[in-house]
């Protein structure tokens, strides 16, 4: 009797737990596919489109405040302020090289002096800094790994340079692809948009406009992840160019960013990687005890060393860690 009572009480407890569990699952599920129109796989009706439009209108004022037009001696582009002291993210091809004096223009037309910092030709990420002291309007950056394929996004820019009569141009679209150093969207671009910001529908900066091809859906952007992975390097070191990388070390793998990390797709015969026994499907974890966050970071780290330098690479092979040593080779001339 006693035993049964205990059991039935336990039973009741279990039922209550189950109900709570189910409720929490329902709530959790609702969270994943909530009712926000821009989280749906597709807008289904006019109301979804209106919700997307209203959201965009609400996010625009703060995003636009931090947009700048960049005026260099040899061309114009766009950029976005990401810190109160006036750090500006843009495209590497807009700044060209490190230490160049240029001007940025705020949306009201005010012209401020700036100096180019670093960046990389691999991803086309670039940075500059407003040199006038002040408290500048800035936007929040998304964390690495935030952007997913299908996310709604909007872009800002000054195509063709600053134009007071026209004002800022806004374009809407969705993330089509996002791999390694490139995000592709159907939020369309034109020259002069280069370096301008792309935002998600939380109002966070997710990418920087880089380049286009002839098709309307082929607009390419530098994911914010590239900046996060190389933040101090871009801020403090000269722009990485293909030309400069020519003299640096060469490891000899083709790799790709996947969810698990940086995976080796191909090992080039007779290179450092080949001699060290690196294999396809190995994950690259660390180089000289430094964590590898992105493909671009890996390329930069390797090419900032010299041919003949020893490197220690930590790999993950079939789930177990493995450390290999390699002596870097010379970058082949055709390599880009």
């Amino acid at each position: 009797m006693f035993a049964k009572l205990v059991f039935s009480q336990l039973d009741k407890l279990m039922v209550i737990r189950l109900i709570f569990f189910l409720l929490s699952m329902v709530a959790g599920y609702a969270d994943i596919s909530d009712d926000k129109s821009w989280h749906k796989r597709v807008p289904e009706k006019i109301n979804d489109l209106i919700a997307i439009q209203d959201r965009l209108r609400n996010l625009l004022p703060d995003a636009q405040k931090a947009l700048v037009s960049i005026e260099a001696s040899d061309g114009a582009g766009s950029g976005i302020i990401v810190s109160e002291e006036g750090l500006v993210l843009t495209a590497a091809h807009v700044i060209g090289s490190t230490g160049k004096k240029m001007f940025v223009r705020l949306p009201d037309g005010k012209r401020l002096p700036a100096i180019s910092l670093g960046g990389s030709e691999i991803s086309d990420a670039g940075m500059l800094k407003i040199t006038k002291k002040g408290k500048w309007p800035f936007v929040k950056m998304a964390d690495s790994g935030t952007s997913k394929i299908g996310d709604w996004c909007f872009g800002l820019g000054h195509p063709g340079g600053f134009d007071k009569e026209r004002g800022i141009v806004v374009r809407i679209g969705r993330v089509i692809a996002n791999k390694d150093e490139t995000m592709q969207t159907d939020s369309r671009l034109l020259g002069g948009d280069s370096g301008g910001p792309l935002f998600d529908f939380d109002g966070n900066l997710i990418a920087i406009h880089s380049r286009v091809s002839q098709l309307p859906d082929q607009n390419f952007h530098v994911p914010i992840d590239c900046f996060h992975a190389n933040w101090e390097f871009f801020k403090n070191k000269p722009v990485i160019t293909y030309e400069k990388m020519q003299g640096g070390g060469f490891f000899g793998v083709a790799c790709e960013e996947i969810e698990k990390g940086l995976i080796v797709r191909e090992v080039i015969p007779e290179t450092a990687a080949y001699k060290a026994g690196v294999q396809s499907d190995d994950l690259l974890l660390e180089i000289n005890n430094e964590r590898i966050n992105s493909r671009e970071e890996f390329i930069i780290l390797v090419s900032s060393l010299k041919p003949g330098d020893e490197v220690k690479i930590l790999l993950d092979r079939n789930g177990s860690e493995l450390s290999v040593k390699a002596s870097l080779g010379t970058r082949p001339k055709s390599e880009k």
């Binding site: 699952m25 994943i32 596919s33 299908g150 026209r166 806004v170 692809a177």
Partner: protein, 332 residues
């Protein structure tokens, strides 16, 4: 109980996994989910239907040259005047075809009014957007060229006037000297090139007036419109030569040098000198100009009047067109 519990939880977990999976399987967003994919288009519902039924294709020798906007139940069509020269036939989304008769042209707005020749009184005209309040960043849509799909996008940039562009020859001028002003470069395929002018020629006279300074050339030519003809006298290897140049548009001519334009594809010839425009980014070819553009309510907010580049279309707002149409129709 425990069994049911674990069974239930595993089902739920499976669900969640399946859902996460279906969101993440592909590395690329397939076409139908994109901004101009068919699923997105379908969300525009009645506005989409309105766009398809109130837009016509205008053809010359079966080739699409412009789109048109049905403005009355008896088949009056408004379109872009400079695009539809020689338009012979109009085709509806139903496939019905009608011959056309021109009724009016207005050069200021680059609009033309045509009549579809028919006894029908059941054409589906657009409904003009009523108020002329600025619409801010808003969804807009237009029928695509085959009248079976739409293109969608947003308006952006301020409503504004677009100034007049003078005509240009498409040459770069160099040093001024006793034999004239040196032409250092000729834009390939532009007006001067087509007329036969070459780099190395010295400009001596334009329209019979002697010129000594670069500004004189720029002033004379710039006062004329694209399409006007100038007579230019040059000295080439000690020999006098005369050419008739039909002037081009500044933006079109010098954009040939511009990388943006190579990426843009064909743009409208006339894209300047409008009293007021709205700007948007629908991916439409230049042959789709003259057609109507709608808001989410299915009201016509204007007529697409110029494809400027790969991301820019100018629209004449409804408020500008409405008065013109009323006077067009009452003066018939």
């Amino acid at each position: 109980m425990k069994k049911i519990f674990s069974l239930l939880s595993s089902i739920i977990l499976f669900w969640v996994c399946a859902d996460a999976d279906s969101n993440n399987t592909s590395d690329i967003l397939s076409k139908e989910y994109r901004l101009n994919g068919i699923y997105t288009q379908n969300a525009f519902g009645l506005a989409k239907e309105k766009a398809l039924h109130s837009t016509v294709r205008l053809t010359r020798n079966d080739k699409l040259i412009a789109m048109g906007t049905i403005v009355s139940p008896d088949g009056l069509i408004l379109t872009k005047a400079s695009s539809c020269v020689g338009a012979r036939e109009a085709t509806l989304s139903s496939g019905d075809r009608f011959n056309l008769r021109i009724k009016k042209r207005n050069e200021d707005l680059d609009l033309a009014l045509y009549q579809m020749i028919s006894d029908r009184k059941d054409f589906q005209p657009i409904t003009w957007k009523d108020d002329n309040a600025s619409i801010g960043v808003s969804w807009v849509l237009s029928a695509f060229t085959e009248l079976n799909e739409i293109r969608v996008g947003i308006t952006s940039g301020k409503q504004r006037k677009i100034g007049r562009e003078g005509g240009v020859m498409g040459v770069m001028l160099g040093s001024e000297g006793p034999s004239g002003i040196l032409i250092t470069e000729v834009v390939p395929q532009a007006a001067a090139d087509k007329a036969g002018v070459r780099a190395g020629d010295f400009v001596q006279k334009i329209d019979g007036r002697s010129v000594k300074k670069r500004e004189q050339v720029v002033n004379i030519v710039g006062k004329k419109d694209p399409g006007d003809v100038v007579v230019i006298k040059v000295l080439r290897k000690e020999v006098d030569k005369e050419f008739k140049i039909t002037l081009g548009h500044r933006s079109v001519t010098f954009d040939m040098f511009n990388r943006n334009m190579q990426m843009s594809g064909p743009v409208s010839k006339r894209k300047d000198n409008f009293p007021l425009i709205l700007q948007h980014d629908l991916p439409l070819p230049k042959e789709a100009m003259g057609g109507p553009i709608f808001n989410l309510e299915g009201e016509c907010v204007g007529i697409n009047i110029a494809r400027v580049d790969r991301v820019t279309v100018f629209t004449l707002p409804a408020e500008i067109i409405k008065q013109k149409v009323d006077s067009f129709i009452s003066n018939q």
